[in-house]
């Protein structure tokens, strides 16, 4: 049976949950309390050759036949390749290419920006008392440098002003592109709901609360209705109900690195 290690249904953790429910694939949910740093406790999954280098920060792990599969968009692509029934990916190579290209932009531009602002808004205040002490003791043992620095920024709440400003610029750019892309129809790629929608929705679902001046019914009407349309899908409702905190859209942990230069 498929197993999914995941935290609250937001960001990278939300994507495979939506894909699994949409495809009606039975799976065992392994809830990982990322805020309690369960992923760094002894006895947690021993990383494999590739999965020892996470490329999108803290994120989900799918286990299929003993093999670890990571990187949220690529987990959903894997599910399409391995379990093609109830497809979320159209057969045309051009549309498949557009899903991958959209995913690259979301991963490289939007995810780091939303993660930075989300960590500052929600992770910083969540790091109080015991969580704070636990993080301070774990920090030096975190093996991946950019993730360690992400946690350290949240602990010290010392995000540089330029980084916050650049994150807003990236969100503005991405939101503008998405609003344009939705001018051609109800979904991002082709005529039906696809992995591109799953990928972008999981990152955008927090934006009405996080950056209400950038995403709202008046400024971004198409994006606004697209978010509502996706939230009303039964499978998405089931995925969003997998959380334990009541506000999955406020669950943030360090995400992908901002690209170092062009």
């Amino acid at each position: 049976m498929l197993e999914l290690y995941h935290w609250e249904p937001n960001g990278s953790w939300l994507k495979p949950l939506i894909a699994l429910y949409e495809k009606e694939l039975p799976f065992r949910s392994r809830y990982v309390d990322v805020l309690a740093l369960e992923q760094y406790q002894p006895g947690f999954l021993q990383a494999a050759r590739e999965t020892q280098i996470p490329l999108e920060g803290e994120g989900p792990v799918l286990i299929d036949q003993g093999r670890q599969i990571t990187e949220s968009l690529f987990i959903t692509e894997y599910l399409e390749d391995a379990y093609p029934a109830r497809p979320l990916r159209p057969p045309e190579p051009l549309l498949q290419a557009r899903i991958l290209a959209s995913g690259r932009f979301i991963n490289e531009v939007l995810m780091p920006a939303v993660s930075t602002l989300g960590c500052r808004a929600y992770l910083v205040p969540a790091l109080q008392g015991g969580a704070r002490t636990a993080l301070a003791t774990h920090l030096e043992r975190m093996p991946v440098a950019y993730i360690r620095e992400g946690w350290r920024s949240a602990l010290n709440n010392d995000y540089p002003a330029e980084l916050l400003e650049d994150s807003r610029r990236k969100i503005t750019l991405a939101v503008t592109r998405l609003e344009e892309a939705l001018g051609g129809g109800p979904w991002l790629v082709g005529a039906s709901f696809t992995l591109a929608d799953v990928d972008a929705f999981a990152i955008c679902n927090s934006l009405p609360g996080l950056t209400p001046d950038l995403v709202n019914a008046a400024a971004t009407p198409r994006l606004w209705h697209w978010l509502k349309r996706i939230r009303s899908r039964p499978a998405v409702g089931r995925a969003l109900a997998c959380g334990r905190g009541g506000h999955p859209e406020q669950a943030f942990a360090p995400g992908p690195e901002h690209s170092r230069w062009g």
Partner: protein, 256 residues
């Protein structure tokens, strides 16, 4: 009709070219001279508004992103498969492509630009360079070109890139010790992407990539370098860049 707009047949430009040659797909080659900034000229921006190279147009439709172009070529045309059928190996192929594109590649090109593009650029008229930079459409590319042209990478940035290259080499060496190709038992677009990135490394950073420290990586580079598709791609180059492959010839001088 397939048209590929490319610079020298290595790095990102080499990806769709090699995928097409491996599949035996005919295409029209359009050389874009990046050192003459042809990629930011109005005629090219009509083809690709982002002003990035390569670009690929199939039957009038632009296909984005060099790695995605390879997936598209493999999915569209007949010929030898360039993506594993096994879903797990296909996932591994995508993992490596992302690792190359977003972590190792930018670090290698920081070195390449510092030592090759930057010095060549600084021979030019400063006012002309300023104007060239100003018309680059994407902010990220504007910053990148300006850093490369004026050589303003900090020692810390270069050191960090050096660490990432070394880590990438170690990761690839370990993987190639476990299987013949990056994703598994068959040659895939992850090998093309990796070769385009690492082919010049034994020359540029011989202390990191060499026969004693990284035997599997060196053997893998030589094996790919012998493929007819690589040989054919050389003909599309116009500069000395393609000569950088001489160090991979088994019959050539041991170390040039």
């Amino acid at each position: 009709m397939l048209t590929i707009y490319h610079w020298e047949p290595n790095a990102n430009s080499g990806k769709p070219i090699l995928a097409a040659f491996e599949k035996g797909v005919d295409f029209e080659s359009r050389y874009i001279d990046m050192l003459a900034f042809e990629q930011h000229a109005p005629e090219y921006l009509k083809v690709n508004p982002n002003g990035t190279v390569p670009a690929m147009v199939h039957d009038g439709v632009l296909v984005p992103e060099s790695t995605v172009m390879m997936e598209y070529i493999d999915g569209t045309f007949p010929g030898p498969r360039l993506r594993p059928d096994d879903p797990f190996e296909r996932w591994r192929m995508r993992w490596w492509c992302r690792y190359f594109d977003q972590v190792v590649g930018p670090s290698i090109s920081m070195f390449g630009w510092s030592f090759f593009v930057g010095p060549a650029m600084r021979q030019r008229d400063p006012e002309e360079l300023k104007a060239r930079i100003a018309r680059i459409p994407l902010k990220e590319r504007r910053i990148a070109w300006s850093k490369a042209i004026y050589g303003t990478f900090t020692p810390e940035e270069m050191a960090e890139s050096g660490r990432r290259i070394a880590a990438g080499v170690a990761q690839l060496e370990a993987a190639l010790g476990e299987r013949p190709w990056v994703a598994g038992d068959s040659y895939s677009i992850a090998d093309i992407a990796g070769f385009n990135m690492f082919a010049g490394l034994p020359l540029m950073n011989p202390q990191v990539a060499n026969d004693s420290a990284t035997p599997h990586l060196m053997e893998w580079l030589r094996r790919i370098n012998e493929r007819p598709a690589i040989r054919r791609s050389f003909a599309l180059g116009r500069t000395e860049l393609v000569r950088r492959h001489a160090h991979l010839d088994r019959t050539g001088p041991a170390h040039a």
